[in-house]
Subunit: 565 residues, 2 copies
């Protein structure tokens, strides 16, 4: 284990490795056993975050806008303007404009020393990056809040601790995959005269990685690919969505601090901020030296990348059409409350939000007796009201919609069937310019596929009348195969339905949640235990996080020779 501390560096990598490796081992063990593990507290008022962490986070966020990001990377000298918050304010920050080719060249030049540092040092430094981001969790949460429009508590949780836990999971997988093979061996082939060879197995990176971030979950979706790539020896370029630059900007700033403090080049992690007028994603993703691309976003662009960035391994999470099948329940009230929350959280702008809720047109049996199709709609509508009224409470679940196209989609969808729950505008008590809308729920027949069977990202749900649960499961199998899905919820009245739904889940390659009626929602997956997306249907070609997500990020180069004598 080499120690790179010198006058110019302040991180003793040897000591850091000693400190972080036991935790990494625990992380690997949790990922394999799928048991609970969280390194970064999700309690927004956890004293670990300081005395008045929310206020301190807001102050740090203001100060950050004032000072700007401290980045060391090639720039054209021009700047990219900051984002406008979905809550109203223009962020008073700007970002360095970059030339993609110059950024890739700098990234490439930085790699050999990082490669030679080896898996342990790289993993320890990646955890250090995450820990320092954890120390700035509230500031990061504010940045996510004011770029994505997520409500504050969610922005903090999903944007900081949960994202950092996913990042740690990626580092743990990447580290484990690299150290699984011996680094060297004396190989002896038996025989009258045994053949002996000394062999060394060197982990080498693939090349430069580019993360193309999404508007809604810049850190949660971005950190796994960035961290897995960095941990495996690659240099990384974060290309955020133009509406959500700052969260990944903070990640890059912290990564550069840690890397340079350990004696490595800042250019191992750089930021490629761009604008809708002059997007950089294509130029970066198809650059000959870019060998890894992580993408979260639209199906159109994800498919384009898979077909065109063929010089790279492309990991995509695209759109999908998530479904719920209601067959029956023994906990009707809790089911409707759970569903109402799933539809409402962050205005339905999650890649995991259900869109189509299949209900037999003859209704369902419940602990409260038989409910007709219409009654199911009424109960869902009233659960939405209970959840989101008064507005003060509703805005903390819905957040603010940053993308005007989402609002247009709500209006369009209202005409597609019988409105069961109207989408209403709520006034945000603190941010008058915020765009807050309650979910629209429209009842349609299964035959109206034009309505429910097209992805309509946002707070838009369809109550779809089916011939019964068998019919519903066939619709799920079909739509997942064509449109893809990340989630699939089932409220099952019998073990037979549970078994049939499991069969559909396995055939279609989508994970399934059964009978959620508490504080776990179909939208949510937790690091180390739940796999987010399967990679086995059109919604994503990768899962966060498994071996298939990390193993292609490095290669093994062997050197061999006969021992002397």
């Amino acid at each position: 284990m080499s120690t790179t501390t010198s006058a110019a560096t302040s991180i003793d990598t040897g000591a850091l490795v000693d400190r972080q490796l036991p935790d990494l081992r625990d992380a690997v063990a949790a990922a394999r056993s799928r048991t609970y593990l969280s390194r970064y507290s999700e309690r927004i008022t956890d004293p670990a975050y300081g005395d008045d962490p929310i206020a301190a986070g807001a102050a740090a966020f203001e100060a950050l806008q004032e000072r700007g990001l401290d980045l060391d990377q090639p720039t054209t000298g021009e700047t990219v303007p900051g984002e406008r918050s979905p809550y109203g304010p223009q962020l008073s920050i700007s970002y360095p404009a970059v030339d993609p080719a110059a950024l890739v060249a700098a990234a490439r030049d930085a790699m050999p020393a990082w490669r030679d540092a080896g898996p342990d040092v790289r993993a320890a430094l990646c955890v250090e990056i995450l820990d320092r981001l954890g120390a700035r969790a509230h500031e990061l949460g504010q940045a996510v809040h004011h770029t994505t429009g997520q409500p504050l508590v969610m922005a903090f949780q999903a944007g900081a601790p949960h994202a950092l836990d996913r990042g740690l999971e990626a580092v743990a997988y990447a580290w484990d995959a690299q150290i699984r093979h011996a680094a060297s061996v004396t190989w002896e082939k038996p025989g009258k005269r045994p053949t002996i060879m000394e062999k060394r197995f060197h982990v080498v990176p693939r090349g430069v990685e580019v993360t193309i971030g999404c508007r809604t979950f810049p850190t949660w979706n971005g950190l796994p690919g960035l961290m897995a790539s960095l941990a495996t020896g690659n240099a990384v370029i974060a290309k955020p969505h133009p509406s959500s630059v700052l969260p990944l900007g903070i990640v890059v700033e912290v990564a550069q601090q840690v890397l340079t403090a350990a004696g490595f080049s800042a250019h191992l992690a750089t930021l490629a901020a761009d604008t809708p007028d002059r997007p950089l994603a294509i130029e970066l993703a198809t650059h000959a030296d870019v060998k890894l691309v992580d993408f979260t976003g639209s199906t159109t662009f994800g498919d384009w990348l898979e077909a065109n960035a063929t010089q790279a391994r492309v990991f995509t999470e695209k759109a999908g059409l998530n479904t719920i099948v209601i067959d029956g329940t023994e906990q009707a009230a809790a089911m409707f409350a759970n569903l109402a929350f799933s539809l409402s959280l962050y205005s339905g702008q999650m890649c995991t939000t259900p869109q189509a809720v299949f209900v037999p047109r003859g209704g369902i049996d419940t602990d409260e007796g038989h409910l007709s199709f219409e009654q199911v709609g009424e109960r869902l509508a009233s659960a939405l009201e209970d959840l989101l009224e008064p507005a003060k409470k509703g805005v903390e679940i819905l957040g603010s919609i940053g993308d005007p196209a989402v609002v247009e989609r709500i209006e369009e969808a209202a005409g597609l069937g019988t409105v069961v729950a109207e989408s209403r505008a709520l006034e945000h008590p603190a941010w008058p310019d915020a765009v807050v809308r309650t979910p629209l729920v429209v009842a349609v027949d299964a035959a109206d596929a034009d309505a429910w069977d097209t992805e309509r990202f946002g707070p838009i749900g369809f109550l779809v009348a089916t011939d019964g649960t068998d019919h519903a499961l066939e619709l799920v199998r079909d739509t997942v195969g064509r449109r893809g899905a990340i989630t699939f919820g089932v409220y099952a009245g019998s073990d037979e339905v549970r078994a049939a739904a499991t069969e559909v889940a396995l055939d279609a390659g989508v994970s399934a949640s059964f009978d959620l009626h508490g504080t776990v929602f179909v939208n949510q997956t937790t690091a180390f235990s739940d796999f987010h997306a399967t990679g086995a249907n059109p919604a994503a070609n990768a899962s966060l996080v498994d071996d298939a997500f990390v193993a292609p990020r490095f290669a093994i180069v062997e050197t061999r020779w006969h021992p002397e004598g």
Copy 2:
């Protein structure tokens, strides 16, 4: 562990799992430690293969041609004619002609039961397939001999035991990757009221796999992808090169025997024999239900598959340009003997055969004193003569060339520089129609890149005069980056050169062998210890075998629910 023995089946899968799993654990341990392991004896006269195994193998090969392959799969009713042996005879066998869409549909239908069998049963049955192929090793060796033109001992070793060991390695990796995660967990999130969930993690296959086999190493290059895919729950279709159908045909016959004996569908492994007139590779590889493609062959078609079969994960091994750098040696005679063998084995028709041998134009220092560039050429030429004379001995190293294009290339290359060693035709004592050629070695200057820096597959080597070793290493770095390479050999006069060559190997992503002067040749890699190809340069996008080769062949689908009560 379920036992599927019934009247219709003869394999007790429970007992088989009990028997095979300890060996699989040993195989996983060997792959991780990279120590020596071989399950299938490479000794051609090993009594384990019977009393007179070579004669028995030849008889079995004749009988096989007589009876034909016993295959259960959809066919058009027409047949595909058998191959002509590079040693002369026409094989008296034919293969069922297939409709690709029908074959894929049959493969797909067979998968759910195979998926539900789970990783242990699948791995045990895959090992059983390999073991039964091991029992037919000599027959398989004859099939490889008479389709590829490899000399008999090599065809036996590379085509049977070594290929089966690689197949076992693939099964071991695939099994390990699937069982690394818990199959289920009771997850408990701490809190005042802990949140508890039951979770199951189901391994699901990607879809149908297609192996597009190569002419020269149908089993050695084909078995890893076939076995890794089958072990992870996919159905496999072997699409052999039209010149080398029978070896993969035997693999499919044995796979079907084992699968059906255990109660599974024969359609999990099928054969898609085709002809140059009506090739099936494109239709198979781009079929919507084909999700995995393994390819060994030309760079042109490999690149095409990577760019066009985007519905699948495509694993390719393509052409490359392998190099040797001679800086100096303390064992000149042994070095020349080793090089001569590397250039000669199977008429240089290995993806690992060196093509360009870089020598300083000022010569090299050796244990026999300084040798000029010309003297290096003379010594290499005389080492080739020593190795290949008399013809009786030479043919057992060279084999017979099946592809007329190879012979044309030799003639073309002879005009590209100063001939150091002429390519001579040798007469095969047993097979008068065999096409046997000794290697051509041509001396050129490094500046004559048109000569040495184009892949010329076959017994064609270039002795390339350089300014010195630094120059040679820069040429290697450049050519590996552009053309790709699977092997890189170095004869180093100093530790400095060894270090510089290692740096080039890591930068270019090619494995390096230093100072080979015994019975290990740069061309050869051994299962469980050597990685064949790195996947990190243009010669291949995958390595045989590592986690990146197996992990993308399956996905994990999760089901979760709250426990009752």
